[in-house]
Symmetry: C2
Subunit: 205 residues, 2 copies
């Protein structure tokens, strides 16, 4: 059988097809790279319309990554999808605290979810400057609550939970925090989308 086996060629051809099919839809160069990588990951052109990128988001994210910041991912799937080799070369790593023993104990003691305690732990970690939330609306709700209570603001929130209950709302309420954000308006998103956005930033550096 004849098929393209070379990953770089597959990726190059894919981005050419995406650019062509986007047709008249124009983005500035850096926004376009985020949008196209998300479409590359989903084969879903609707993301060209529902991705909303705050004007400072890409610069703020890239600056943080260049400084070797860590990233908090809300699930193992997001963590798994981020290019840890490239991130590591910049001095950063991806963290997820949901299964940490201290988080489990604390959540039980305070009778709140582990996701909520994990977000608090991440916000107390000074090297975590980017939150990549692909699944849990409650992670975004908690981020908002804690920032409004005075916890240090991150440099970028990637807020792309997917779903039918709370997902769309959770993405709306992080837009007024004074924190640069990249969201997918509406129901769509997910772990692959969150990881694709982080990787798009990494590949611009």
């Amino acid at each position: 059988m004849n098929y393209v086996k070379e990953p770089k060629t597959i990726e190059k051809n894919s981005f050419e097809i995406i650019t062509e099919e986007l047709g008249d839809k124009k983005f500035d160069e850096k926004e376009g790279k985020v949008v196209k990588r998300v479409i590359h990951t989903t084969a879903d052109f609707e993301y060209a319309d529902i991705l909303e990128i705050h004007e400072d988001a890409i610069e703020s994210g890239i600056k943080a990554l260049k400084n070797g910041c860590d990233i908090y991912a809300d699930t193992g799937m997001v963590l798994s999808g981020i290019n840890k080799r490239v991130l590591g070369e910049l001095g950063g790593q991806v963290c997820n605290f949901v299964h940490d023993e201290d988080v489990v104990i604390e959540a039980k003691k305070r009778e709140i979810t582990r996701s909520m305690v994990a977000i608090e732990k991440a916000m107390n970690n000074k090297n975590i400057k980017i939150f990549a939330i692909g699944n849990a609306p409650t992670a975004l709700f908690t981020l908002k609550e804690k920032i409004e209570k005075g916890m240090p603001k991150p440099d970028l929130i990637i807020g792309v939970p997917v779903g039918f209950v709370g997902a769309a709302e959770s993405k709306e309420i992080i837009k007024d925090l004074g924190v640069p954000y990249i969201v997918t308006n509406g129901r769509k998103g997910g772990s692959t989308v969150a990881a694709a956005i982080v990787n798009a930033l990494l590949y611009m550096i």
Copy 2:
């Protein structure tokens, strides 16, 4: 802020919304569970049209899982998304061999990709009965080549690579192997879709 924090309630409400919005589209009970879990994972109703489930696929997959089979996942993201607790209770585990030292050495020696050697290794492992391929069209091409050369057939191929080069074609060519399959026709799919299909089967047991 008031928001639903209880995962079981969120999931129940989500499936009710999905069922309502599917409207006139009817599936048999088990197929519907697969379709709805994929839509739950993607918020994309197009999957109701592009999921193709071979008539023996669900029964064959469930039987293999009940017998404690292992699953081969083509990437860490697919591996990460599968519910390993439920799978473990049945006696199974998820494997990915792409980073194994023996695979790396063998691929270099034979000058072929690690993905291809990893698939061969998986096919030689008698306890792997299900292949969950969410990313690599080359994994499906390799599966076809090896089965046609006489390697033992798995009980189920979940073939849902996403992409613009080779993905759609790779899903077509596994339909004539005499192996039950679940695919997404066309470009869409991905790690979250592959994991959702496996989880839908696990939750039916």
